[in-house]
Symmetry: C2
Subunit: 233 residues, 2 copies
């Protein structure tokens, strides 16, 4: 049986990747004025990957990589006004009101009656706290863990810290790389709910066994009822 | 009696503020080429304070505020090359090897034999984790808490989460605002060890009772021995 259900946040509970896509579009527009539109997206991704060990995840890291790529792609020709535009794009990202995905509020409220709920997310500490506060979901989560990365070691140590046996733990998320595979690896359960867009960094080839896939979070309560019935029998 | 001793990290265990001062000096140099050296420091501080609720603490937030101030102070005249210089300054900050303050390694090792130790720090999640890993001190800390801000509510909830009574908890840090006053407010003990430079944001007028002041972390074990003797008698 399950005691704990943990949720990823970005693109599982609320919209995230589309904000990054919109900022990338703005970046490409600005780079177009310097004849650099064609290489802009790929160059930005390369910068992000190079900076990941230094800056980690989240909007501020993305912002610094955006600016660095702009300077490099334009060979220093980028004007201060365009830098200002990019900075404004970043500021808008951290000010965008959180937008819950369809069905999330009901499902989280319902499940909180039968399970202990946890939020496990990576990214900027303050930005994730802000989104959680705005979401109205904070009262449902008994534990909130904002971590710098999500791998098997991190999940193992989180579960150990809270005294949770992996077989009594189920993680729900949109990223195979961050939410599903490491949890399966440590002997936990996982439900993958793909989001319609995924950051390239989170895309992995993966086996399709050892975890469940749902199309929509609204299907989660029924899935958990079947899961409990199977285990209980 | 005390069970737990918690340490602040930046400018308590390792050097931090001097890195920011050096980056500010570089910023002023660059602004000087635009005739803006005189207003640079104050303008940067104003930007940081305005952005604090959006970006939080840490080097990435500082970096974004640095760039924003550069664009605004030069009215967009700043060149891409200078933006590149500022970005490089930020990258150097997150790559600077951690430098323990004098006496820290011995004191932390010694105290870990008699007390449970905790680290409570604010700032960038990944940057603080990196510094802790490099410091060699990680094995001494039973708990590591990286928080987005340090106020009475945050301390109260941390202590509650770990089941620690405030009167059995002592916090050691260099910032009256973040490490000392909120801990005193919730009924805990605190030892202020001022660092020779303090970020203006952390400077507050404060009462001088309710906590102890030491000149150097090396004096902490003797202070705690006296503290225990007084309580025990």
């Amino acid at each position: 049986m399950l005691d704990w259900i943990a949720f990823d946040a970005d693109d599982t509970l609320w919209l995230n990747e589309p904000l990054y896509r919109a900022a990338q579009d703005r970046f490409v527009e600005i780079m177009a004025a310097y004849g650099r539109a064609d290489r802009a997206r790929e160059a930005l991704y390369q910068t992000e990957m190079r900076n990941l060990p230094l800056y980690g995840y989240g909007i501020k890291s993305f912002g610094l990589s955006l600016l660095e790529t702009a300077v490099r792609l334009t060979e220093g020709r980028i004007g201060g006004g365009d830098i200002g535009q990019l900075l404004e794009t970043i500021q808008k990202m951290v000010q965008t009101p959180v937008q819950l995905l369809d069905g999330v509020a009901e499902v989280v409220a319902t499940l909180s009656e039968s399970y202990r709920l946890m939020l496990i997310t990576k990214g900027d500490l303050l930005d994730q706290e802000r989104k959680l506060a705005q979401s109205g979901l904070a009262p449902y989560f008994e534990r909130v863990e904002i971590v710098s990365t999500k791998n098997a070691e991190v999940y193992r140590s989180l579960l150990a810290e809270h005294g949770i046996a992996p077989q009594r733990f189920l993680m729900v998320g949109n990223s195979l790389r961050s939410d599903i595979l490491p949890v399966v690896e440590i002997g936990g359960h996982a439900v993958h709910i793909p989001y319609h867009v995924t950051w390239a960094h989170e895309v992995v080839d993966a086996p399709t066994d050892g975890y469940a896939v749902l199309e929509h979070i609204g299907q989660l309560p029924a899935f958990l009822a079947r899961f409990a019935a199977r285990r209980g029998s």
